[in-house]
């Protein structure tokens, strides 16, 4: 009996790379938002990579953005993650900045990067929903 082999193209997956900034509450939020999307909102459609590997990773990691659509999620306007990803000169980056999104929504954080308050954590969904909309847009365009 012949095997039914799916010769269609591989499903698109989108990378979300957070800055993980340790100094700011916004940096901690980038981690929570990324995990929320990977584990709950778009599992199977999203992946991540540790941002420092952009500079010290192996060849595959240092050319990561050449192969996969990448959303960068920075905590502040230094935009370390977006700038580092852009240096790879791969596909266009889809940059997001937590502080800019929160400002647009008039939301404020407690300022404690270690112990996020319940109010801080409520903003995870707000941020995640904006990123998910971009994930869906990228996937729709690729199909």
């Amino acid at each position: 009996m012949a095997m039914n082999i799916n010769m269609g193209k591989k499903p698109t997956r989108v990378a979300i790379v957070p800055c993980n900034g340790e100094e700011l509450c916004e940096g901690s939020l980038t981690r929570l938002v990324t995990r929320k999307i990977l584990e709950e909102k778009r599992p199977g459609q999203t992946i991540t990579m540790c941002m420092p590997l952009f500079s010290t990773g192996d060849e595959k990691q240092r050319t990561f953005t050449h192969r996969i659509a990448t959303i960068t999620l920075d905590g502040c306007d230094k935009k370390c993650c977006a700038n580092s990803a852009a240096k790879q000169q791969g596909r266009p980056i889809h940059p997001f900045v937590v502080s800019e999104i929160l400002e647009r929504h008039g939301a404020q954080l407690s300022g404690d990067p270690q112990n996020l308050t319940d109010a801080d954590k409520k903003l995870v969904d707000l941020l995640a929903d904006e990123i998910v909309a971009e994930v869906d847009r990228i996937i729709a365009q690729s199909n």
Binding site: E23, R31, P52, K78, Q114
Partner: protein, 134 residues
């Protein structure tokens, strides 16, 4: 000028070890040795932020890496600075196979015990470095 100790966790997002290092660093810098220690975003080193580099060059550095990629240590060394102490969270997990973190950012009780153990190691190293300054 008395040197401080910069604690630099690896920013790992794919394994619990990254979060364990991050939480241990916070405990030391924010609660246990706030006068003697500091933190800087590893991401700022990745993009060669001058102020972040200056902070490293003028102080002791302890790196907390979650996996063998050693991102924190390598990013310090890439800038021409030696690490004064490189700790590996994965070693701690090997030493305590009975402790299993439940998630990557939500560590659970076992994960929090590992944070405490990691914190103890970092504090011990900080105190040794600071003693050299006295």
């Amino acid at each position: 000028m008395e040197r401080k100790v910069v604690i630099l966790p690896c920013s790992g997002i794919g394994k619990p070890t990254g979060e364990i290092g991050r939480q241990a660093a916070y405990h030391v810098v924010r609660k246990l040795r706030p006068e003697k220690t500091g933190m800087v975003c590893l991401a700022r080193l990745v993009v060669d932020d001058p102020a972040a580099i200056a902070l490293l060059k003028d102080n002791y550095v302890i790196t907390l890496d979650g996996c063998p990629d050693d991102c924190a240590k390598k990013n310090v060394e890439r800038l021409g600075k030696s690490v004064d102490c490189a700790l590996h969270v994965a070693d701690l997990l090997d030493q305590h196979p009975d402790l299993h973190p439940t998630g990557i950012v939500n560590l659970g009780d076992d994960g929090l015990k590992l944070v405490q153990l990691m914190t103890d190691q970092v504090v011990s190293q900080v105190d040794q470095m600071i003693a050299r300054e006295d």
